[in-house]
Symmetry: C2
Subunit: 406 residues, 2 copies
């Protein structure tokens, strides 16, 4: 018998009716003769309420207490789902982070999973008892409750699937799979049957909101087969799998976009060695992540411009940090522009087909779209454009690469 | 340095402002150079919501899962109070039932505390860290969460005070102490400075709602000095203490009443040995608690009547159980009356003053109040009367015993 891990997010367990529906989705796997562990998030809205209370009670913030408060949300849903399962004739019990236990480091609110003791849980699965496991939470060596931060329940599910050597980890969500691009922008967007881990990772970091990069990276490194599927529609979703050597893809897999970027330009920097290190060192010291970077030399080689992108939320802070270094950096001025979008073309096909980049640049040029910054990885090309052209760029590229047909 | 245990119920932690007020009440004890452990309930309303969900999710009820769900309420308040304390400069940390641990038996939803490991907590108290402890919850030998049932947080507080050998256990509530009777019925009712455990126990079981009998009984057997005091008003409350041999009280301590009683009468039972055992055995088998009992022989000694009282909620069930035994018991008929009140006069003074019962009966007779059933213990006299006369009886007795002055 195979072990399947299922994960249901907050909207999938938002009320008692939905929790009952989840119980039926669990039963469907049981009826296929699988052993099932289900990881659940808190009911939608609950975590936000708890976070609000924890923040409003006072300005001083103890992340250990914050985690204790916030982790109570999942405690409610595991109990409710266990009872819902029992009520349709399925033996089930809940497991909290400390009961397994789910050991993490002590970086509260964004803890990393170190080890999961699945010995008890495995023997219960073998007795055909469904394990209903609280996502998002763990405990430290000193038995304090931790939470895993953003996308934590996905990470819990993948880690559990790895520890159980599960056949598959199904991430149930409010979309029915991974699409070639956002269907709200391109109605012809097509659901992918499969996508590789590398592609999924690039999609996630390029702005596709289906899965958090962290859980994908963990699934990749532990060889956990992931499936993204709908909580509300009963059909197969998208399988995230390891790359198949035999299969040379002809097409890219998808187009992602993000409007949460800002472009920052330092104009008229003295072009001396180490100047880039000073700029990006100062930003790193202030915990600002820099994504894309381009440096352009000026004609007389004495001055240079540096343009880079950061999260839109960090734009003001980045400018502030650089202004503070102005006496040292001796630039003319710094300009931040948040009316920017990042468009990314993603696919392992790039490894074998050099024409993919050229297609991207010529399609965007035909539409008169100016490219501010370009960056590439082995399976991704990203470019910053003016935000107004986002939909036009995504649609044009989706057409040009023929993504509506498989 | 003395250890003080404070307990705050659901209305005392109903919102963030009240939790901040609780933090100041904790600080007041710290400022008196005490070490403090605070036991808290869930925010008012939270437990009811959780109970509702746990009941509504399906008709089959797993008490282990029910307890897991319901115990999450206290997890929220301990975290919030710990942060509130830190924000006024007091070192504090939360402790959940499983973190101490608070060991209980496995009778879920009404578990009994077996043992509390206070070793870690005690060393933290010695470092002047306030312990914020989740009331109402514990764990079994198999690490499942249990809850203690009605009045559970009071019981948690008393058990913790016993384990810590605390100087005092202060139960903060929405009244400011124990009164000679209900001030809503008798405005002249007087707050008692002290009351003995035995009296408090009788008061609680006679209908006074200040403390649950269970926590009082535990405090008595472990010699924990209890204080009932207000969360909202800063003054001393009522101390519940051991009886002082030297002090012979002249007066009773209080008058309690309860309208939640029903009188059940079995008319025309054959007067044969063992008939009472059959009646009350059948009721006990159906988990119906019987309070007061009176048996009156008929003139010719062949038939007898039995009258007893049960909780009003159990009245229908009691009648049903007895009707099922009719062929065996051969009574004429069974009558239940829920329009009944129990009036109790309580005080250790009864031990030395035989006139107290006579005063009670003559006062009630003067007012034309008929007594249906009378029962006595060493320090209590209770009687059932028609519910319409409740206020009149309580007021008249309060006057007759001169309780408005100490």
């Amino acid at each position: 018998m195979a072990i399947i891990v299922q994960k249901f997010g907050g909207t999938s367990v938002a009320d008692l009716d939905r929790i009952r529906s989840v119980a039926w989705r669990v039963k469907a796997e049981i009826d296929k003769n699988n052993q099932v562990a289900v990881v659940v998030s808190a009911m939608a809205g609950t975590t936000n309420q708890l976070v609000e209370w924890a923040r409003d009670i006072g300005p001083l913030h103890d992340a250990r207490e914050y985690d204790t408060i916030v982790a109570s949300g999942e405690q409610i849903t595991v109990g409710l789902l266990a009872i819902a399962l029992q009520n349709i004739g399925i033996d089930a019990r809940s497991w909290l982070g400390w009961q397994l236990p789910f050991r993490t480091n002590d970086v509260h609110s964004s803890a990393r999973i170190e080890d999961i003791d699945v010995s008890m849980l495995k023997s219960r699965l073998a007795e055909n008892q469904v394990a209903v496991v609280a996502g998002f939470q763990g405990i430290t060596d000193t038995n304090r409750i931790t939470t895993l931060g953003r996308g934590g329940s996905d990470t819990s599910a993948v880690a559990l699937a790895a520890a159980l050597d599960a056949e598959r980890c199904d991430i149930y969500t409010d979309v029915d799979g991974v699409y070639t691009t956002d269907p709200r922008v391109v109605p012809k967007a097509r659901k992918l049957d499969t996508i590789t881990f590398e592609e999924m990772l690039e999609m996630a970091s390029a702005g596709a909101k289906v899965l958090e990069t962290r859980s994908v990276a963990m699934a990749m490194s532990h060889h956990v087969k992931l499936q993204v599927r709908s909580s509300f529609v009963e059909e197969d979703g998208t399988l995230v799998i390891e790359e198949d050597d035999d299969m040379e893809k002809q097409k890219i897999s998808g187009i992602a976009y993000s409007r949460d970027e800002a472009k920052v330009t330092l104009v008229g920097l003295p072009d001396r060695p180490g100047i880039a290190a000073t700029v990006f060192g100062a930003l790193a010291d202030s915990h600002i992540n820099v994504d894309m970077i381009v440096q352009s030399a000026s004609p007389d080689d004495s001055r240079t411009d540096i343009t880079f992108s950061v999260a839109a939320l960090d734009a003001d802070k980045a400018v502030q940090v650089l202004e503070q270094q102005k006496s040292d950096l001796a630039f003319d001025r710094v300009i931040a522009d948040t009316n920017i979008a990042k468009i990314s073309v993603i696919g392992t096909a790039m490894r074998s087909q050099p024409g993919i980049a050229r297609t991207m640049f010529s399609v965007l040029a035909e539409k008169g779209i100016n490219l501010h910054v370009i960056s590439t990885s082995e399976i991704k090309i990203s470019t910053l454009i003016d935000a107004d052209y986002t939909e036009l760029a995504v649609r044009s590229l989706h057409d040009a690469y023929g993504l509506e047909t498989s």
